[in-house]
């Protein structure tokens, strides 16, 4: 049965190869082929899942060793897969949501002549992502890690003729690279510390290792996670990544890839458990990011960017949870899954809206769309309720648990984290409500006929998307409604994950009910505030100047400007000076030597006058020198 694991990765890989090398003749059928392979790998995943459920909790973890990859001395890297509950969860999420989004894209990319390549990239992404979560050692994980980076690079820059898209893609890849360096250094540290970097031995050996080394490894892993999961300080790429087609944003930059960081930390739980300082760093990053993302999300008028901010902040929740150790891992993953559902749903909804609005992304040009695209409205609304944690929907369960665990961290630290989490919940409620209101409610800020168009208004013919797009949205909406409840039934999810991520019940200073109550309260506050600002009075079609914080938030809290001034400009100056130095100093020295040689020889040439007698003089001089030398030799 474990031989199927390879098939999981192989299926989309074959699809990718087929589509990318297939050439023109696959242009029409390409979309269906790609979706087919995605669904196939989902089917395999389902089979494996069923098989896994059949076994007892202990021997659910399955290994498959394919071949020895890089055998060099003590450095033994193998290509081997490990399918345990954690991997399984991810596999299901990836293949499931992946398949849905493939199908959705069939409709969404209908009119793009390069969609064959698009689906090829999507398949490639699936393969890389599965490799990431199925690898049984860190080096193979690294391969998947960079593979998804490549796929996201290709997909963000899919519309390469737009310079903005190309730039965004490059930026995403570079920022991710910074994180990847962290991962590679972590692997090197593991190799020097343990002599191996396979999950089993490394995680087993954390017991008898100096805490300092483990902390170093942990921090490096965290750096990697920050890069991939768009956490502060490496979060700047996610916003721009929205340049990519919306299904990409849904799949890669909401549901799956960006959560790889969470997977990495959870997977390396043993290391973090043994390195408290690293854990503290993790929770700090998580807390900061969840607020950061939320604040950014409040200010964006671009619907996708707003959702991106929310993604950032939700992943902040997960990282925070993962940083809490055994009391948090399970909930981190749980929130990851539920988030996968509703955020994907929200993005697909946004995509559907754009699809109906001629790819208009500015929410200030939306408004009152609920009548025009009801299905989108409903699914989006359900996703909205889920993400703000409306009681009973999936987001409620997962986020609530995380907040609880945050308090359970204990001490002032616990209070701070818990407070941050609560505040985050409030802001989430606010900005999601804002998105909801600006998009579907209020006056329509567009015109159906040119005649009716007020200045600054566009002419739109909003319409509901085709079935192939709405069905995945519906499925995801269902998921985002019931997943949480399903998982929380007598802690099914926790017990499911426990063998992998050891679980411990946290003991929060507040009772669970109190926390739940407070979450609901802050939720209501957030919603109310948003209603106050965007529901009651009409939304201006052009963004008001806004407060200082707003303007900062619109610019991603100036983080990009910082990057630009410090890194980009500085780098440009550095390279320019280096180029100059290389030419004038390093090369100049050599050329200078050559020139001086020329001068010297020119001077020496004067001796060769051609006059026999001057040669004779030189000869006599030489003879004299020789005689003198002989005499001296004899003399001494």
């Amino acid at each position: 049965m474990e031989n199927l694991i390879a098939l999981l990765v192989a299926a989309p890989l074959v699809g990718a190869a087929l589509l990318l090398c297939g050439g023109k003749r696959l242009d029409r059928t390409g979309a269906w082929i790609g979706s087919l392979f995605a669904v196939a790998s989902f089917a395999v995943a389902a089979v494996l899942f069923a098989d896994m459920l059949g076994k007892s909790a202990e021997d659910r973890a399955v290994h498959q060793h394919l071949f020895s990859w890089i055998p060099v001395g003590g450095f033994q890297a193998d290509v081997g897969f490990q399918l345990d509950q954690l991997s399984m969860t991810f596999v299901l999420l990836i293949t499931g949501v992946g398949s849905l989004i493939h199908i959705y894209s069939i409709g969404y990319m209908e009119h793009d002549e390069r969609r064959r390549r698009f689906f090829g990239y999507l398949n490639l992404f699936l393969a890389a992502m599965l490799l990431l979560v199925l690898a049984d050692n860190y080096l193979l994980l690294y391969v998947g890690w960079e593979g998804v980076g490549l796929a996201s690079y290709l997909l963000i820059g899919f519309w390469q003729h737009k310079p903005s898209a190309a730039t965004a893609a490059k930026k995403a890849f570079l920022v991710n690279r910074v994180g990847d360096v962290g991962l590679s250094i972590a692997i090197m540290l593991m190799f020097t510390t343990f002599g191996t970097f396979a999950f089993g031995p490394v995680l087993a050996a954390t017991g008898d290792t100096s805490e300092g080394k483990l902390t170093a490894i942990g921090l490096m892993l965290l750096l990697a996670a920050c890069g991939k999961s768009a956490q502060v300080p490496l979060q700047s790429w996610l916003g721009d990544a929205m340049e990519g087609p919306t299904p990409v944003s849904a799949l890669i930059h909401a549901a799956t890839m960006v959560t790889a960081g969470v997977y990495l930390i959870t997977r390396s739980g043993a290391i973090f458990n043994a390195a408290p300082d690293a854990q503290t760093a993790v929770v700090a990053v998580g807390a900061v990011t969840l607020l950061f993302g939320a604040i950014v999300g409040c200010a964006k008028d671009d619907i996708k960017k707003a959702l991106a901010g929310s993604t950032m902040s939700q992943i902040g929740y997960m990282i925070l949870a993962a940083g809490l150790g055994p009391i948090g891992y399970a909930f981190a993953i749980m929130h990851l899954v539920t988030h996968g559902f509703f955020k994907a749903g929200l993005f697909l909804g946004a995509g559907s809206v754009m699809h109906g609005m001629n790819d208009e992304v500015d929410m200030r040009h939306y408004g009152g769309l609920r009548k025009y695209m009801p299905v989108t409205f409903v699914t989006f609304g359900l996703g909205y309720l889920a993400i703000i944690g409306f009681p009973g929907l999936s987001g409620f369960f997962s986020k609530d648990k995380i907040i609880e665990a945050a308090f359970a961290k204990g001490g002032t630290e616990g209070w701070i984290l818990g407070g941050a989490a609560l505040l985050g919940a409030a802001i989430t409620a606010f900005y999601m409500t804002r998105v909801m209101l600006m998009t579907f409610f209020g006056e329509k800020r567009w015109a159906e006929t040119p005649g009716a168009a007020a200045p600054g208004q566009q002419v739109q013919h909003p319409h509901e998307s085709p079935k192939v797009m709405t069905i995945p949205m519906i499925v995801l909406a269902v998921g985002s409604v019931f997943a949480g409840a399903l998982f929380s039934v007598n802690e099914a999810f926790v017990t499911w994950l426990e063998p992998v991520t050891s679980f411990a019940h946290g003991h929060s200073p507040l009772s669970a009910t109190a926390i739940t109550a407070s979450t609901i309260v802050v939720l209501l506050i957030g919603v109310g505030l948003a209603w106050q600002m965007y529901g009651r009075k009409p939304v201006p079609a052009v963004a008001p100047r806004g407060s200082l914080l707003t303007r900062a938030a619109r610019r991603d809290l100036l983080q990009d400007d910082f990057n630009h001034i410090v890194l980009v400009r500085g780098g440009e100056h550095l390279t320019r000076t280096l180029v100059y130095l290389d030419h004038s100093v390093v090369d100049g020295a050599v050329n200078g030597t050559a020139a001086s040689m020329g001068g010297l020889s020119g001077r020496l040439r004067q001796l060769q006058s051609g006059f026999v007698r001057s040669y004779a003089v030189q000869m006599l001089g030489g003879a004299a020198v020789l005689v003198a030398a002989t005499l001296l030799m004899r003399g001494v």
Binding site: S614, V617, A623, A624, V627, G635
Partner: protein
């Protein structure tokens, strides 16, 4: 004679050395100082003769003779031949053209000499086992023995060297005629064509009572004609211009005939004066 070769040198040899040594040095200096190549050659010959004597004094009888025969005999003669051949510009000015060459030469020469002398000075050359027994069976015989036994190989090679030298000298000096020699007809035609001086050149010495090649013939008005003498001679300045002399003698002849005819002797002194200046011109002509 064997005594000469002995280690102990007689006072006679000393005297000989000091006198002839000075001569040799003077000859050497003359060689490099004299303005005309001929004089240099002569003074060099002198030095060589002195050296020959020194060879004899040092018991190298064979060499001494060879020195005189070969060097002063053959080589110097060769030199003189070449000087005569090339000697047109033989008298080169001693003015230095290369900058600082002379000072360098002097400095280096002196320095080198000092070095050599110093070397000889601090070389331990005290004991002299003279050529007594080496020359026992006669110098020439012993040399012959050595040449034909120990140095026979070098000897053969020198033979080859000499052959090569002879051939080389021939190759260098013998000029191959590249174009066919022009016949007399062609030459005359060419002369006609270029038009100036159609008849053959006049012979020297005509109309003057000399017919030596170095005396230009006189034109009817008594002035000498350049065409009549070999340009090489003219270049060397070895022409004896007898025009003035012959004119004077013409006058003297007329004078004498007039005397003989018993004419007025109011101008007595003329012929004597003219006769007096003629030999001077003669000398000048020779000196020129």
């Amino acid at each position: 004679m064997t005594g000469l070769a002995a280690s102990a040198t007689s006072s006679g040899e000393a005297v000989q050395f000091w006198i002839l040594g000075v001569v040799a040095v003077c000859g050497a200096l003359g060689t490099i100082m004299m303005k005309r190549a001929v004089h240099s050659a002569l003074s060099l010959a002198g030095t060589m003769i002195v050296l020959a004597v020194f060879y004899l004094a040092n018991g190298a009888y064979f060499l001494g003779v060879v020195q005189i025969v070969v060097y002063t005999g053959a080589i110097m003669m060769l030199f003189l031949f070449v000087v005569m051949l090339v000697g047109v510009t033989a008298a080169d000015s001693l003015k230095e053209t290369l900058k600082g060459q002379r000072w360098l030469a002097a400095g280096l020469g002196i320095g080198f000499g000092i070095l050599l002398i110093a070397g000889i000075g601090n070389a331990a050359l005290k004991e002299f086992n003279g050529l007594g027994e080496a020359n026992a069976g006669g110098n020439v015989q012993n040399l012959a023995a050595l040449i034909f036994t120990k140095y026979v190989f070098a000897f053969e090679i020198t033979g080859a060297l000499l052959i090569t030298a002879v051939v080389g000298a021939m190759v260098l000096t013998h000029r191959e005629r590249t174009e066919r020699a022009r016949t007399q007809r062609e030459r005359s035609e060419a002369r006609i064509r270029e038009g100036k001086h159609v008849p053959p050149l006049p012979a020297p010495g005509v109309y003057a009572r000399h017919n030596a090649v170095d005396i230009p013939g006189l034109l009817p008005d008594g002035t000498p004609s350049e065409l009549t003498v070999n340009p090489t001679l003219r270049q060397r300045g070895q022409i004896r211009d007898v025009s003035g002399e012959s004119l004077a003698e013409l006058k003297a002849l007329e004078q004498r005939s007039e005397d003989w005819l018993g004419r007025g002797s109011e101008d007595e002194s003329k012929p004597s004066s003219s006769g007096g200046q003629a030999p001077k011109e003669h000398k000048e002509g020779a000196k020129k």
